[in-house]
């Protein structure tokens, strides 16, 4: 054998040393290691702090908000306490009604009734007016037939379902938002059921979100692969130029890029006119405010995130592998599939993951170039945070998105192999 050069050097006789000074040596090693660890920690501390404050805490906050439920219990504490013993079989006792009368009167005085009204309205439509009316004209708690007085105000006070909703909202934790985010709810008896057809939208939206993201990822992959390949095979000068072209979109705002697609794809836009002029179509076709627009614009926006990891992996694959494969008798196509492609896999895996995850959270682009039926989950999250200020629902949708994404990532990393994802 021929390894003298590599393995032949004599190791100093360590056995004697180890016996005498083993313990001290270990302590010294530990101390040295500790210093290194402290130094390393010092270096990452600022970033770690930043990540915790700007990333981990908000996510934890979001998860918390998706299960937190204190609006009703803070406005109507007596009612909630009185409802504790209620089984839900028949109407609650008069005690509950009296407690509600006191709570509502107080809420009216403090101006807090609307918070509870809004929360209960998420559960049952029309609850807001029910509560607000009751707060305004709350029967006196000393009324003889308090129950009749409430029913006189609104017949719904005489229904079990109304009180069940109040009890469900008694907090402090609830699965209401999370269930709603996947089109489920509790019925009056407390079991989990599907929401009525006309209100079931989120599973659809979730499915659409993943479908669009997947399509966009695949489109990006097919378009980015040849570009990255070209870049990796060109001399530095050409490759740099191509790289600048690839990165150019990053220099303009996302909004501008998306708006540009509106201009290009509209009925009188460049693309339609070109197609008509070439005789491919007779009349302009609808390319925007539908799923075509969403796919085109999103693919364009996300393409660089596919090209960059692909390029960096391909750049590292030396051309002599292909030559070797061909010299060994593989036709170029076979050499490509069996030798080149497998070595690209880490880049493909990283690019797909990056694009897919970015796509899943996309909001602006589909909002601007999509139709009503092309909105993705983020649209609804934005709607709940900005329009209806329903933080619970927004957080629950976010949590569902996060959970699904993590599950998919788990499956994905199992599929492509743990170490295979390489960002650069």
């Amino acid at each position: 054998m021929i390894n003298q050069g590599a393995d032949g050097e004599l190791s100093p006789s360590t056995d004697g040393n180890a016996a005498i000074g083993g313990r001290a040596l270990k302590a010294r090693l530990r101390r040295a290691e500790r210093m290194r660890k402290v130094a390393a920690f010092g270096l990452v501390a600022p970033l770690l702090l930043f990540v915790i404050v700007s990333f981990a805490l908000p996510i934890a906050g979001m998860l918390w908000r998706s299960v937190e439920d204190t609006e009703v219990s803070s406005v109507m504490p007596r009612t909630i306490a009185a409802l504790k013993g209620w089984g839900g079989q028949d109407l609650p006792s008069e005690e509950v009604y009296r407690a509600a009368a006191r709570d509502l009167a107080e809420a009216r005085a403090n101006g807090t009734a609307s918070a509870a009204a809004r929360r209960l309205n998420y559960d049952i439509n029309g609850f807001r007016t029910l509560i607000m009316t009751a707060a305004r004209k709350a029967p006196s708690a000393d009324e003889a037939d308090i129950r009749a007085a409430f029913v006189a105000l609104d017949a719904r006070w005489g229904e079990r379902e109304t009180w069940a909703a109040v009890k469900r909202a008694s907090g402090p934790l609830t699965d209401f938002y999370l269930l709603a985010a996947v089109d489920l709810q509790h019925d009056a008896s407390g079991s989990i059921v599907h929401v009525p057809e006309e209100r079931a939208i989120y599973l659809d939206v979730l499915g659409r979100t993943f479908r669009i993201s997947l399509t966009v990822t695949l489109l990006s992959l097919f378009m980015a692969f040849p570009v990255a390949y070209l870049m990796s095979t060109q001399p530095a000068k050409v490759a740099n130029l191509l790289m600048i072209l690839v990165l150019l979109p990053f220099w303009t705002s996302l909004l501008v890029r998306t708006a540009a697609w509106v201009v290009l794809l509209q009925n009188e836009g460049l693309v339609n006119r070109l197609l008509v002029w070439m005789g491919v179509i007779d009349a302009p076709i609808r390319l925007i405010y539908n799923s075509i627009g969403v796919h085109v614009a999103m693919t364009h926006v996300l393409l660089p995130f596919m090209i960059l990891p692909l390029y960096s992996t391909m750049k590292a694959i030396k051309p002599h592998y292909m030559r070797a494969a061909i010299s060994l008798g593989a036709p170029p196509a076979v050499a490509f599939v069996r030798v080149y492609l497998p070595q690209c896999l880490p880049g493909i895996a990283a690019g797909c993951l990056l694009v897919f995850i970015l796509a899943i959270g996309y909001y602006i682009t589909p909002a601007l170039v999509g139709g009503a039926g092309d909105q993705m989950l983020s649209y609804f999250i934005a709607f709940y945070t900005t329009d209806s200020v329903n933080w619970g629902m927004a957080s629950a949708l976010g949590a569902v998105l996060l959970a699904t994404t993590m599950v998919l990532y788990g499956v994905y990393s199992r599929l492509v192999g743990d170490g295979a994802i390489k960002m650069g």
Partner: protein
């Protein structure tokens, strides 16, 4: 070996990459079946280019290459059935050693059952039978190169090309691998075209060596002929150690000539590529063919010079002398017990035979006309 039938023939092959400079100029080369031919030359002399044209990765700009009598200019590389070993091994990193070696068989659609046996045999041949399951990254450089060798040989190619396959190895390993490759060649009876710029490697391994310079083969011959009868000043200087003495031809007489050295002395030399009187010439003499003190009886030339340096190296003695005309000569003499070592400043006589002293045209002219 040498003189067998022709396997590969380059006729009038030229190659340019940029349309301006010819990297390979009018190459005529016959490679015989079963021989070990080495392309030797300095960096940039066109060795790799020649090899790549043979492998099919570069297209000759002009001329024809035939393999087994058939022109292969337009035959794509994967159909040439030529084994190839690269300097950087080019083992596929995502495959195990065994998968690497199986690759050429798989793409040739060899039945599965046969593949296993052939791979085992090939790995055995390079003494790596136990390493089949490892990844290339888990092997040392020498082991990787042997895998590359096994992979290039496993499909029984007639012709194997190697481009500086040992360039990345350290000296000891390189010498070991040289012998291993040489023995494989002898055992398998394949034809090997080997590229190197290490002359001792070329001399050790080859049946014939083609010395490249400036895209031209300066000389192609067996190692001993290359050393003893260099065809021009470039070969004389490139192969082995050499002394140069400058002068002018006085007379030519058959394969002998008389040369007047720049220092005024007149010597007899063997004529190589000088054609007329009064032509400038470079005389090449090997250091071990210069004698001081005792000399063979048939020496014809004597010069007197001053010792500049004298170094004792155990088995031999190196003496540097300056002779009239300003040239310095290196003399290598056998060390013996009780040898009186010349000292710097001594004026002594040195002698050499006419047949050991080759009169070449000076280098620039030689490179142009060869």
């Amino acid at each position: 070996m040498v003189g067998g039938d022709v396997l590969v023939r380059f006729s009038m092959v030229q190659k340019t990459y940029d349309g301006e400079a010819l990297v390979v100029k009018n190459l005529d080369l016959d490679i015989h079946r079963g021989e070990f031919l080495t392309l030797l030359g300095p960096s940039g002399s066109g060795k790799t280019t020649t090899l790549m044209m043979l492998a099919g990765f570069e297209v000759p700009t002009y001329g024809e290459i035939t393999l087994n009598g058939k022109a292969i200019n337009s035959l794509p590389p994967h159909k040439r059935n030529i084994g190839m070993v690269f300097q950087n091994y080019a083992l596929f990193p995502h495959m195990t050693v065994a998968q690497n070696v199986a690759f050429p068989l798989e793409v040739r659609k060899v039945p599965k059952a046969e593949i296993g046996a052939k791979v085992a045999h090939a790995l055995d041949m390079v003494q790596l039978a136990e390493f089949g399951k490892r990844r290339p990254a888990q092997l040392s450089g020498g082991q990787q190169q042997r895998v590359a060798l096994a992979r290039a040989l496993v499909f029984d190619p007639e012709l194997v090309l190697m481009d500086e396959p040992l360039g990345a190895l350290d000296k000891q390993l390189r010498e070991h691998m040289q012998m291993e490759i040489k023995h494989l060649h002898e055992r398998l009876g394949i034809t090997v075209v080997y590229v190197t710029h290490d002359q001792s490697e070329a001399l050790t391994m080859s049946d014939r060596v083609a010395v490249f310079h400036g895209g031209v083969i300066q000389q192609i011959a067996a190692p001993d002929i290359l050393y003893e009868q260099p065809k021009n000043a470039f070969v004389a200087n490139f192969i082995g150690e050499n002394n140069n003495l400058h002068g002018r031809i006085e007379t030519i007489d058959g394969d002998r000539c008389t040369v007047v050295l720049d220092g005024g002395a007149r010597v007899q030399a063997t004529r190589v590529n000088v054609y007329g009187a009064d032509m400038p010439t470079v005389l090449s003499i090997r250091p071990e063919r210069l004698y001081i003190g005792d000399s063979p009886t048939d020496v014809t030339n004597r010069l007197t010079g001053t010792v500049v340096e004298s170094i004792y190296l155990g088995d031999h003695l190196r003496v540097v002398m300056e002779v009239p005309g300003g040239s310095s000569l290196m003399i290598k003499m056998q060390a013996r017990p009780n040898l009186s070592q010349p000292k710097p400043g001594d004026r002594i006589e040195l002698s050499f035979r006419a047949e050991d002293c080759h009169a070449h045209a000076p280098l620039k002219v030689a490179a142009g006309d060869a």
